[in-house]
Symmetry: D3
Subunit: 328 residues, 6 copies
């Protein structure tokens, strides 16, 4: 009997989600023509979580979709418990699909006696029983080296670039891409190349005589230009506010803001709404509540990462190239 | 040069605590004549935690005191980050001292497709960098086998027994020890032996025709006796309320309640306050807020586990027997 | 090519057995319609064992059936050598099927400076090359947390319950289930619920003035009742003898004894034969010699666990739910 | 759907080779009717190597063919990088096929404070991501125990024996097999049995009064006999030169030399060419340059190991017995 | 006996070096007032390396100083063999001191189907037996997360900054720091802050119609300014040549070049000598041959990292803070 | 405070023994001026073993002396349980001292589908908690590579050589050392060099037409010579009997037999007693019963390995060279 090389080497795709990413998981399931597997997730009064799968996953190829933004530690623990439960139920392969991976900025000891929490999180995911992982635009791509299991680290930046090119590019006046800080310089350059625009950077430098004060400088030219501010995530919005003000002070015309992960801590949505920004372009890697969406109204554009995640799951399951998907 | 066998084989004792157990850690430090080491613990707006040690622990013998009751997942993550930070700073030995270990009841698969979260937690503590662990009265002592690192699992029950014997025993009328459920039968027997009283049990049995209804029965004799209800922890107080009512219905005289860990979720304190219980005897393995203490007032007795933990740390550090401490 | 999700994801089932469980293995093979794979097992004069497989298991789904009751250490080593041999021959998956797992009572440090041998045994099985394990009614179900590999821990108690319900229940006079000690309290309660009878317990308490003397007490009511004594295993029979005498002294009518594992060390069979017990109900998890069976004669009922093990192997192999088998 | 047990349990065979063994890999591919997968291997000016696979290996059964003779460390690193790349690309199974494994002679501490580099190499191959390994005639077969992953250690000696029997045996005059040193005594005996000849040994003994001087003795009889000198590899040829001279001095007639691995360091080919040896019989486990081959001309016979490796890959892939291949 | 907390917790410092860094190791030893331990390192004709320690390191605190620049793979293997030899000789603690860590740029999968070789190297160092590691200015500081053992990652940039401030700063005309590419943007900013100068960047962008052509742009202002070009290492010098030409074309005055690691592949020294650069400032993390030094003559300034490494070894050995050394 | 480098880096030496090697352990203790630590070892009727240490080993440097000859599996398990108990009691370092390591001959797959049990045993010792191991003359020295922990593999052959040189050499007539099979060829050569005698070998070759028949040949010269037969162990004595007969048939004069490990299975002592052998020279690595000693009477010489083991323990404990002990 000659089986073709494209045979499904594991059992069927089984999709699970915790309580963090229900909408995204549903969209991924729809993309794949699958349904989400049923499971009970209970939180006891003492905050301990409990998981029970409704059906067996023995020999199946399982994917757990769960972001780890707020509530960070509960979401992380729920993810780990799901992974262990699936592993102990003799799944053939378990993939942790984490659209937003927490603690990404704690990725090195840049001062003495601090943790590398991103490595800790990677170790937790591995030891809980994940055979593979998948994530989107981590803070630094070196986080791949924190795992010893294989993974697919997807780049959702091109979704933002595509949106700019299809809907905004033609009307932009002498556009320039500006990164909110120097850590995003290389990725900002990729964005700028993607929309065929020059690049500029905002430099933050600590003032010598005051530990907390920072001087902000623009390296590059923004005067009389439309500015596309780019970053990987927006948390409280503080950096964006500084950046918008700075480019405006330096003569920028219209300002657009593009970023992958809408963390939106505290009152970030309200603070962003008050800025002279024409459009905020982001993804649904982390869900935004209807309230937060309403605050920004039409100025908010959300590109869904569900087709991207769905397609990669399909290819991973079928043993086909994921790299081809991006035309490399 | 002949060093005595009692030499300190590691550097000095260094005591750390997270944000969960500050008071207990302080008492342990006082017992040892040490001060707590300074460290910064910051929670960013996106809930990510950050730790920085103020001084180096290179080559030192470090103990991190942190319970993992509510907020469970934050406390657990803080513990893990502290452990990793200390490990990466080249401590000679790191011991996780966890007075209350979360997820203790998830210690087996007693139905299909559920997790064994207690093993997951043990793995997390090990992989974060702990060389040893210490805990008090876990739900089942088999949790020791979930760790591959050595540990000291301490039994604080004798603190409760000693209190009963010193302050209550003489005035108890035909006392009987009653366990809240059958899972605590053996430990309840030890308690009963400790105060030289007989034992009885409450049996819960699911009713055949109603999945959620339970029938409660007392096995053993409580009529016209003073009852000491015992359990390892009190969470919402639901089991205690059932038990108090049941023994009262069966003719018990005065009721005392003794348990190691005062979790006191939701409005447990208020519910307990309403019961016809003469005294609640517990420990400070998990801190009780002044408000909760006030609700129970004089009826609450808290035995401190700090001297126990402190003495075990001292002996572990000096390479002396811990078993001797308990006269085995 | 569309493969159904029920496809066999590994090669065929391959069944192996060592020298411990040949009869049980044969029955399992018959249930599955398979034959046992041939292998040579040689013991050299220096007691070293040697294994050679007669045929290759490359890419196959292999199950090794071997209990680890007496000769305990030889049986254990034989199991481990078989596991390693199969692993090194590139089997796709190796499952250790251990109907009786030795050292189950050494599952915690309940006194200082003792081992946790059950964890040691779990580690040995894992490091020898097992990908999964299967066992029946371990002394404590927490042993599942000693493994990091997935496993199926089966509960054979229902075989005993079914026998009682089908053959004895109708004629029992006010039956009560009695556990031989408090460690079996919860499992005894399950048995009692299974035959719809009340429960009672035998409590053993060390006497204060004599380290070796024990006082035995019955908690609950046995007078004028038919008693079903239950335990997980019978070793020398000492506990059973004590228990039978005690319930008889307390007015019990007929006595039945039900237990999973017939270890029957030394002259247990003879000692049990001398007791006023109507029937001994057990399983074939550990083989009983014809001589021992003859001693108990008609009073011995042995329920075979072979169909249970066989069905679980089939489902594990086919990637189907095992939980469903028990109607959960 | 009933799949036969011979189904391919992994995806298709994917063959890779680094820069060390291109010809052998091509022959193996031809034997299997496959083509070598394309990949880029770049060496940067700073000597760092870079690998990129041209196509995806997700879910495939991958074999990397690469010897680790000179340039030893570059070849080894290239192998490891290939293994990691394939592992991280989610291959179903990765097998390192290493026709010649370096550092085989560093397999024990036979003096204090020295390494066991063969174990180090085994660990490197495992930690780089190999799931299995395959090699030919390692210096000691105990190297199998240095790996925890399964492997196929093939014996190519029979290729040499077959050549002798088919082409030389009839014309040999009273042949005797002579091992170059005592470490090869048992394998030499196998060779001698294979061609039905007696065996003799060369013993090297250090002289007491001079650390560097060695006395060579022949144990056994070579006078007036045709001699087949055997060893596992020829490095600089020094031992062979000594051996040829010694047997000639002891009255040997014609001399043949048979060995598995033609390392041929420095000017080994030239030195061997100068010896009174009738024929050198070896394999292509390590490639010989046309220049080196030319030096030995017709006196060099190279048996290809490609069919052997190819057949074992086929059987490993299809889950069939490799042992049968050798009629055991 | 009361030992002070500053006691040496391990045996004495033992310093070893391979063949890569003999001069640097000697300087470190001098700084510490120690001598290098004797060991034999032999390369056999087949390129296999062999190590033998002349004295025992049982219970000692051992440091192996060895860079892994060219010959990269030999140096790496020599390091690993030394680590294993020391581990197997029962050293109390083994620290790999690697002034330059190879494969630093292969730290992530920024395209499909490529390796993360820096992780592979970290795993090799750990599995060879290192308990700790030490390195200088890796390409990305995230490499710390590739290790699970503790390490000291030192920043030698301040040596370069100190040189500029002490010897050049006063005479620089409107200086600007320029990074050779965007990947060094944040570290370049630190350099600029260190000499109190602004920053500019060179952006490389691939041209759309030619895969190999790159367009270079300066972001920021260099006209009529003295330029300090900064990078972490200089390999072939290609990037430096491009950068010098570009800043000159854009009107720069004098040009200085500062970098940590002088790799100087191929004819880098000659190519740099031909550039209009006033001074090259670097360290001795990688040794420069007298010939290469002669080519650049007085224009080359080499700051030794030996005191830095020596002081960190001393503090690591004595259990004192390394962070304090940098005034954090 | 300046501690000398010879300081004891761990706590004191603690010596333990199981039930296998009580006499040897006592001699080692006497050599070291220590006493054996007390521990209880109980065998339950179900054959399960139980260990309890009488005193704590926290922070101590512990050595467990236990051979693993018959009863092999019980001795091995007892060793493992002791190791785990000591590890879990927080010993600073645990060394398994195994004078005779079982399963040494199962050190490779020399045919398909067989185990490598020696690796399995090494893994068991490591995973039970040993930090180091020590053994005497394993069957192949490559077993060192089966462990990843450091170890001291001692060579007791020189004890036998010294005895021959001091008591027999002068009176031997043209002595020749003969190895019982070719696997001992290199070690036999070392023995021969040690007593300054030539070497000869016995070759066993399977007869082509009968799988079980073997032809024995002597390679080398024994006629009219005194023969010293050497091997690593004597099990049933079968090989020795064959060898003695063969050398006698070939004209040998007196015959002596020297071997490290006196396994003496079945009736080996009686069979050896019947041989025309002048003296049997062995060690006490495995204890011989007084009965077995009596059978061989004055012809048996037993050299004790206790001083060797004791001295190595002392040096390992004090961090001094073991290699020096042998003048390397």
């Amino acid at each position: 009997m000659a089986l073709s090389h494209e045979m499904k080497i594991y059992g069927g795709i089984k999709l699970y989600t915790g309580t963090a990413s229900p909408e995204l998981a549903l969209k991924v399931a729809e993309y794949l023509g699958e349904t989400l597997c049923e499971r009970d997730i209970i939180e006891f009064p003492n905050e301990n979580l409990f998981v029970k799968l409704r059906t067996s996953v023995r020999g199946q190829d399982v994917y757990v979709i769960q972001h780890t933004a707020a509530p960070v530690h509960r979401n992380l623990m729920e993810l780990l418990i799901l992974l262990q439960t699936l592993h102990l139920d003799s799944a053939a392969r378990v993939t942790a699909v984490v659209p937003y991976l927490c603690y990404g900025r704690s990725d090195k000891k840049d001062q003495p006696r601090v943790p590398i929490t991103a490595r800790l999180v990677a170790d937790m995911i591995e030891s809980a029983g994940a055979d593979r992982y998948m994530t989107l635009d981590p803070h630094s791509f070196q986080v791949q080296g924190f795992f010893s299991i294989p993974g697919d680290v997807l780049n959702a930046q091109y979704l933002l670039i595509t949106h700019v090119n299809q809907h905004l590019r033609a009307q932009l006046h002498d556009p320039v891409v500006v990164t909110v800080d120097l850590g995003y310089a290389k990725k900002g350059r990729n964005f700028a190349a993607g929309i065929d625009a020059p690049i500029a950077f905002i430099e933050k430098r600590r003032l010598a005589n005051d530990a907390k004060a920072q001087a902000l400088t623009i390296i590059g030219d923004v005067e009389d230009r439309d500015v596309v501010l780019v970053d990987d995530e927006v948390d409280t919005g503080g950096s964006i506010i500084q950046a918008v003000n700075l480019v405006k002070e330096n003569g920028a015309r219209r300002v657009y803001v593009a970023f992958i992960h809408p963390i939106f801590s505290v009152n970030a949505a309200e603070r962003l709404a008050a800025l002279p920004v024409s459009e905020y372009i982001t993804t649904d890697s982390v869900p935004l509540s209807p309230e937060k969406r309403a605050v920004l109204g039409d100025r908010l554009t959300v590109q869904s990462v569900a087709p991207l995640i769905g397609e990669v799951i399909r290819r991973a399951h079928e043993g086909r190239s994921v790299g081809q998907l991006f035309n490399e």
